[in-house]
């Protein structure tokens, strides 16, 4: 079966512009649905990145000064070992910090080039004896004034709250994405059905003179695919913008943990790729089902 490019382009274009309001409605619904899906994926990845830092039962992190003296590290370690409120602690030296740093910035080699292990602060990951917030606060206050300690960052209240909120909201977003994907698929179906109906005379003639089913079907499927892809393209902008907002907001929080909530551009591209594929498949299948149902009726 020979398809001619000019035939396909002309037919698809005509279909797309025959009913612009319906086409635009379809594209926008696809865009909203995929934006929600992208946002959900984004938040999930962000939560994953935070949890990487506060893995296992580590409840807070003690950041040391950049110019900390070895004996100050030693005395801090000593303090942590002796305290009856602390179950375990682990020292993260510059090499290990640098390793993690490399993992975070794997996509941004220009940042890696600027940083050497010596420039990075070291830290202790601390697990307290009991999870009581008040006693953790009290011990943290004591640690914070030790010589060589820069800051104490909690996993307990804020982070846990945010991370469970994020997890919950990403599930809600996925659910909303699913609902609007159903709406998008139905609009797609109707949009193609309308296009098929508008061209019923052509289709009748095509069938009579012996055009194959695929020949009749493909311009419509291409139209659905195009609507899906344009919608996905718009949603990628939305996801990109959301990530920028995350970056601005969390980056300004001055927290080493949260500054990684926004994902690097490489992962945005991966999310974008997923959205494109979902949009294209949604479009082509919705259109294919609609046109097949009409052709066989």
């Amino acid at each position: 079966m020979a398809f001619r490019a000019d035939y396909l382009l002309r037919e698809t274009g005509q279909n797309l512009f025959r009913n612009p309001s319906l086409s635009i409605a379809t594209i926008l619904t696809v865009a909203v649905s995929l934006s929600l899906m992208g946002a959900a994926l984004l938040v999930q990845q962000g939560v994953g990145r935070i949890n990487n830092v506060f893995r296992d039962e580590v409840e807070f992190i003690v950041w040391m000064d950049k110019e900390v003296q070895p004996e100050q590290v030693e005395s801090t370690a000593d303090f942590l070992s002796k305290s009856i409120y602390i179950k375990a602690h682990r020292y993260i030296d510059q090499d290990e910090t640098y390793q993690e740093f490399q993992n975070y910035f794997a996509d941004e080699p220009e940042i890696l080039e600027l940083v050497t292990p010596e420039q990075l602060p070291t830290s202790f990951q601390v697990t307290p004896q009991d999870a009581d917030v008040e006693s953790i606060r009290a011990i943290a206050d004591e640690i914070e004034i030790l010589a060589g300690v820069d800051d104490v960052e909690f996993a307990s209240d804020n982070i846990k709250a945010i991370s469970s909120f994020s997890r919950g909201s990403s599930q809600i977003m996925l659910f909303a994405a699913l609902l609007s994907a159903v709406a998008a698929a139905m609009l797609m179906y109707n949009s193609i059905r309308t296009a098929v109906f508008a061209r019923r005379r052509e289709i009748e003639v095509m069938r009579l003179v012996g055009a194959t089913k695929w020949f009749i079907r493909i311009p419509f499927m291409l139209e659905g695919l195009l609507q899906g892809v344009i919608g996905a393209f718009l949603s990628i902008f939305a996801v990109f913008g959301l990530n920028r907002a995350f970056d601005n907001f969390f980056g300004n929080l001055n927290s080493f943990v949260f500054r990684d909530f926004a994902v690097p551009s490489g992962q945005i591209l991966a999310i974008g790729g997923i959205l494109m594929v979902v949009g294209a498949v949604l479009g082509a299948i919705g259109a294919g089902v609609a046109v097949t149902r009409y052709l066989d009726a």
Binding site: R4, Y7, M206, V209, A211, K213, I216
Partner: protein, 226 residues
């Protein structure tokens, strides 16, 4: 070329069968009239031949092939060998004469070079060489039917099915259309034409198959309407 063996067809929405135990054998190059009043089964007869309808019983052969056994993806190939024209022409109003004719070649994937030579040639043949750029609503009924004949014949089918092609035309115009169909028939194309136009059938003196309430009641060479 066309053979029906005990073909019956009944539509779900209608109490009476449309065609009952029809038997017919039409040779290559024949010109056959299907006559009978409205609802006698003429259109059903034609629609069964290019698989627009499926028979409930019996077998239909077209060009030596049992089309009941034909898989659905081969149906387009069958239809490329069967041209169809209708009482209401079925032209596309947004396309010019030559675009309407070219459309039939385009959608079966014929190359542009073929379309460029075939379309003007066939328009010339049907007598519309000077009206190729006109739209259907700028043409008379007879001219529109000529366009539809050009579209049906441009792919040089073995068979031409005509369902009341003169039903909307005045007698004078109808004669012109019949002359054209006769010329096409003389090129070796088998023509099966449903009609209840007494004057045309009597003038042409071709084979007549008469249907009455779905039954073939007469099959006569060089027949008249009666």
């Amino acid at each position: 070329m066309i053979k029906l063996e005990g073909v019956s067809k009944r539509y779900e929405t209608q109490p009476e069968p449309a065609l009952i135990d029809a038997n017919a054998d039409i040779a290559k190059g024949e010109f056959v009239f299907l006559i009978g009043p409205s609802g006698s089964g003429k259109s059903t007869f034609l629609r069964l031949l290019n698989k627009q309808e499926e028979p409930d019983a019996g077998r239909i052969f077209v060009a030596g092939k049992d089309i009941g056994q034909m898989s659905s993806w081969k149906v387009p190939m069958l239809r490329r060998n069967i041209g169809s024209i209708f009482q209401d022409f079925k032209l596309l109003p947004t396309k010019t004469v030559s675009e309407n004719v070219a459309f039939a070649l385009e959608v079966i994937g014929r190359p542009r070079s073929v379309i460029r030579t075939q379309v003007p040639a066939i328009c010339e043949l049907v007598g519309l060489g000077d009206k190729m750029a006109k739209y259907p609503d700028q043409l008379s009924g007879g001219e529109q039917q000529r366009v539809s004949i050009a579209r049906a014949f441009v792919n040089r089918p073995l068979i031409l099915l005509a369902d009341e092609p003169t039903g909307n035309l005045d007698p004078q115009t109808s004669i012109g259309i019949m002359r054209l169909l006769d010329r096409i028939n003389k090129t070796g194309t088998t023509v099966v034409m449903a009609s209840h136009d007494r004057g045309i059938v009597d003038t042409m003196r071709k084979r007549v198959i008469e249907l009455s309430n779905g039954v073939i009641v007469r099959d006569q060479d060089r027949g008249v309407y009666e």
